[in-house]
Symmetry: C2
Subunit: 152 residues, 2 copies
Amino acid sequence: MKSLHDMPEGTASASVSLDRLFELAEVLGAMMARGVAERGLTTARAGLLWALLHDGPMTQRTLAARLGVTPRNVTGLLDALQADGLVAREAHPSDRRATLVSLTEKGRTVTAALRGGRNSMAAELFGDMTATQLEAFQGGLEVVIERLRAMR
Amino acid sequence: MKSLHDMPEGTASASVSLDRLFELAEVLGAMMARGVAERGLTTARAGLLWALLHDGPMTQRTLAARLGVTPRNVTGLLDALQADGLVAREAHPSDRRATLVSLTEKGRTVTAALRGGRNSMAAELFGDMTATQLEAFQGGLEVVIERLRAMR
DNA sequence: GCTACATAGTGAAGTCACTTCACGATATGC
DNA sequence: GCATATCGTGAAGTGACTTCACTATGTAGC
C-alpha cells in the first residue's frame, strides 16, 4: 500500500501540493470565520454585506444569483442582517414585487471595518514580498484557480 | 473611496493576492464537496473517513480531537456513516467506556476511491509542472500557511 | 474496599446555512 | 384582459455544528 511504485512518476509530490492547498483552504476559512465572528457576523452574512459593498443596492433575486444560493436563503440572511440594523429593505422604484436591499450607515461602518481587517491581513501575509515575488505567486494561484474551474 | 492614495504602498496588490487566496479556497471547497457528494458523502463525513484511513482505528474522543470538533458531533457523524455501512463501532479492548471506530470493508473501498480521485485531481492540476516548479509553489504555500497559523 | 473525581459516549434542545415546494402578489406578452 | 412568468416568503426538512445534563465506567487516595 505504501510502495513507491503504486503511482506514476510525480504523483506523490503533486498530491502533497494538493494537500497543502486543502490545508490552506481550511486555515483560511477558519481565519475568516473567526475574524468575521469578532464583529458579530457569520461568513454567509458577511458575504452578503460584501456583495452590497461592491455592487451597491440590489434586488434579493440578484443577490441570490450573485451569491450562488437560493432566493429563499437570501430572505433568511437578510432577516438577520436587518434585525441587526446592517441592511435596509426598500421598495423597488419600478417593480412592486421586488425589494431593493442596501447597506445602512451601520452596515457601511461594519463593512469598512471588515475591509480594513482584510487589508491588514494581506499586509501581514504579503507585506514583505517584492512586487515581482507577489506577481509570481499570484500568477501561480490564478493558474490553479483557472484549472480548477475548467475541471467541472 | 477609490483613490490610489488611501493605502500604504503595496497594499493594493497584496489585497489582490489575498482575494485570489479566498477565491481559491472557495473553488477548492466547492470542488471537494462535489467530488465527495458523487460518492454519497458530505465533507464532514469524508473527513472522518480520511482520518480513519490515515491513523487507523480510533476512539471517538480521539477522532473528535483530531477533527477539531465536539465529541457529540462525532457521534452524529458516525451514526450516519455506520448506517451506510462505512464504519464499525467495536468495544474498546481495555476501556469499557470507550468505542473503537474502524473502517469496514466498504469504508475502505470508498476511501480508496476518494484517494484515487484526489490523486488524479492532483495530476491534472500539477502534472505538467517540473519538480522544481512544484517545490517552489509548495514552498510558497507553506510559508503562507505558516504565517496564517502564526496569526491567531 | 470505598469514596471522590475525571472521562467516554449519548439524549435533548438549539443555532446557522442551506434546500424544495407552495402560494399570494405583481409584472408582462399578446 | 388573461395566461404566464417572476419576486419574495411561509412551511418543512437536512446537515453540521454547539452546550448541557446524565449514565456508565475508569482511577486515585486513603
